[in-house]
């Protein structure tokens, strides 16, 4: 097995994972998604570290990854607590909401044109209120008749 080539492969994969996480972090607006993307970047780094550890024939890389996992756990605890607090105050997970912490006098960032609700996106479930009869749509009616 060509160790060097293995290392190269792993580094490329790790780098890609890091880059994907980075893009997600920069593009998405949901705080939790952003946080998941940050974790994804950590995964990319972990992969590289493990590969280096293997390449050098010792366990140092794995140790680093263990500590990364530890730190990620701490991060998750604190960040989730903070996100919950932010949510309690703003009732939204949108990071853009918090741009009202911007420099005084700066114009508010104008949201992109929000796309219209597209037909196929209606499938997203909504939590129905308990005790109230769910609204039935045609599909369901047809379904029923077939029973």
């Amino acid at each position: 097995m060509n160790e060097m080539a293995l290392l190269q492969n792993y580094l490329i994969v790790g780098g890609l994972l890091f880059a994907i996480g980075l893009i997600g972090f920069l593009v998405r607006r949901n705080m939790i998604v952003m946080f998941l993307c940050a974790e994804m970047m950590l995964q990319g780094i972990s992969l590289s570290l493990v590969a280096f550890g293997r390449f050098h024939g010792n366990l140092g890389g794995q140790m680093m990854v263990l500590f990364i996992i530890t730190v990620a756990a701490c991060e998750a605890a604190i960040a989730l607590a903070l996100i919950l607090m932010l949510f309690q105050r703003s009732q939204t997970l949108d990071i853009a909401f918090w741009q009202n912490l911007r420099e005084e006098g700066q114009p508010r960032f104008v949201d992109q044109q929000i796309p219209e609700e597209i037909e196929d996106e209606r499938e997203w479930p909504q939590l129905t209120p308990a005790g109230v009869e769910p609204e039935l749509d045609l599909e369901q009616q047809r379904h029923r008749t077939r029973v």
Binding site: L22, F25, L26, V27, R29, M34, I95, A96, W98, Q99, N100, L101, R102, E103, G105, Q106, F109
Partner: protein, 739 residues
Amino acid sequence: MDEILKYLLCITGLPLAAALLIALLGPKLLRGQSHWLALAAALGSFLCSVLLLLAVRGEISKAGSPHGFEKVYNLWTWADVSDAYDQRITPPAEGSGSVTGGLHDFQIEVALRTDALSAIMLCMVTFVASLVVLFAIGYMKGDRGYWRFFSYVSLFIFSMTMLVSVSNFALLFVFWEAVGVCSYLLIGFWYEKPSAVAAGKKAFLVNRIGDFGFALAIFLIWTTFGTLNFHDSDAVQGAAATAAASPEVRGVLGATRIASDDYVVGPHGQAVLLAICLLLLLGACGKSAQFPLHVWLPDAMEGPTPVSALIHAATMVTAGVYMVTRCTPLFTASPTAQMVVACVGAGTALLAGLIALTQNDLKRVLAYSTVSQLGYMFLALGTGSMAGIVAGMFHLFTHAFFKALLFLGSGSVMHAMGNVIDMRRFGGLRKRMPITHLTFACGCLALAGVFPFAGFWSKDAIVAAVHDKAHVPAEAHLAAADTIPVHLAGYEVSGAPAEHSGSSPYASIYGWLYYVAMVTSFLTAFYTFRAFFLTFYGKERIPPEAGHHAHESPLSMTMPLVALAACAVFVGFTLDSSFADFLQQTPSLAAGAVTQTTMPGFHLDVAVISTVVALLGIGSATYFYLGDRNEIARVGKAMKMERRPGLAGLSPYQLSLNKFFLDEIYSAVIVKPLQGVARLSYWLDRYLVDGLVNVCGRIPPLAGLLMRSLQMGLVQFYALAMVLGALIMVAARMIWAAN
């Protein structure tokens, strides 16, 4: 522990403890009972002072030293700077036996001293203070700041006792300032009253000028003599210390230096010494209210009357006199300085006497009389002879009693009149306030210098000393150089030293000063009795403010009056000679020039003349103010120069009434220009300096204006910027590595 040290510590420590305790416990616990602590401390202090005095007396009689007795206790070292002073030019002084030169350490030792001078001062201060505290119990009753008053007074007693018992110029300055602070606090005691606040401020500021001079004098002393200690510090003990390496530091007023008389140091020694003396005198003028810094004292009467009695008549104002007395060796070495002291004293005495003639405010009359009497003391000190110094101190001593008496008496009047002090609004109070009347009369007689009241003896001694200084040809004393006779008549004052003979270049000036003293004596008697008659005789008038108060004061107020009156009567002839004997045992007074001068003698002719002058003053006051007052109205018209309205503003009456416009002159010459400078500085600061700063301050906002648009509050934008930046750095690194 030495018992003297015990006494000293008690004298100073008790009032301090009382002040702290009252300050801590007063507002909540003690309140109306605050006076007990203060009274106990003052009385204990006084008791210890008396014991101290007796102990010193015993030591003097035991030691039998020609230079008297002094003792210094080093408590601890406050500041210690090694090799602070390089004394280059010191030819070994003859007879000193010690090598002076090389590097000295600068040390401020917290040292207490005791000798005859300080013992007397301590006794006087604590005695008057005790009585004043006693008086204030009645006087201050019901005041909102009752505990505060006693705390301040205790603090003042502490400061004053420390002032007279420290043995170091630096510490002297510290407590000099401390009494100033206490004075400020007490003048402004009723801080809701604008005039009291203004008076406090004025006192403080005027004193600053004097203190500035004093501080400069201390710096000069340090650079000239290399030490600030009064006493000779002990040579460094120990095996390693050789005499050359650690020379004994000779204190400025120490026995060794006095003995070797090396006050003239360096090429410009005489000039430096003169400067030191004049600066010291400036400091003394500030504290003792001498012309031209006397303006604060009359205004300081805004404080409670016990304060006026304690601080501004009896004790604090004598600090200047005490300081000059303490520095006698310095002044003795500079005859010009002595002459200046005498002139300042005489001038102040005359000026204040003239002003006092026309004042309508009882306390102000007394205040100017204080200024005048302090002028007397300076005049006496200015003679530079043992007779003068002893006379000055004796006058200080007696004056403390009768002036405190007068002030407390006026306080009693004021208390009865509902805080009205304008003599035009009351009169004929002798029936209402018999005790106050009688004791006040004692005080007035003493102040006027009528035989046998205390004032007579001390004032007579001063006049005699001046007379001696002016009129005695130096040669006349050669014959009797070693005798110390006490003559009842004639010019037989002995002991003019050989080397001093003929060196009295200012004799004619002293001659003039003698006449000034006589005129002042007349004025003193006149204005004193003017105030006395206006207050206690004539038709009975009571101001409406008095209400039901218009009766004799309570026992706690009259008791001190009686005690002080007794002193005013008896202190003079009982203590006259013993005081002089005792005071002469102060080593620092035994400076070269003074030593060979003489004991004061009693001059019958001078005494007769001054008594006659005083009686003349009393008589004319009786003539003008007792009974019908037509005559004074006529004289007043003449003095007011009503016929020449153009000059009415500068008539003698107006001059006197307006204190010779000194306040106005000061305002025009000093205050207004300073205000102008301040205004200019304000504008400069506002528009030039602030403008520069503002310009500097504008730069960051301008930069921030550029960067601000980046702060859009979107976290991800920051992250994006960070990533792009990191990318650029990585790319740069790789390109660099590739090349």
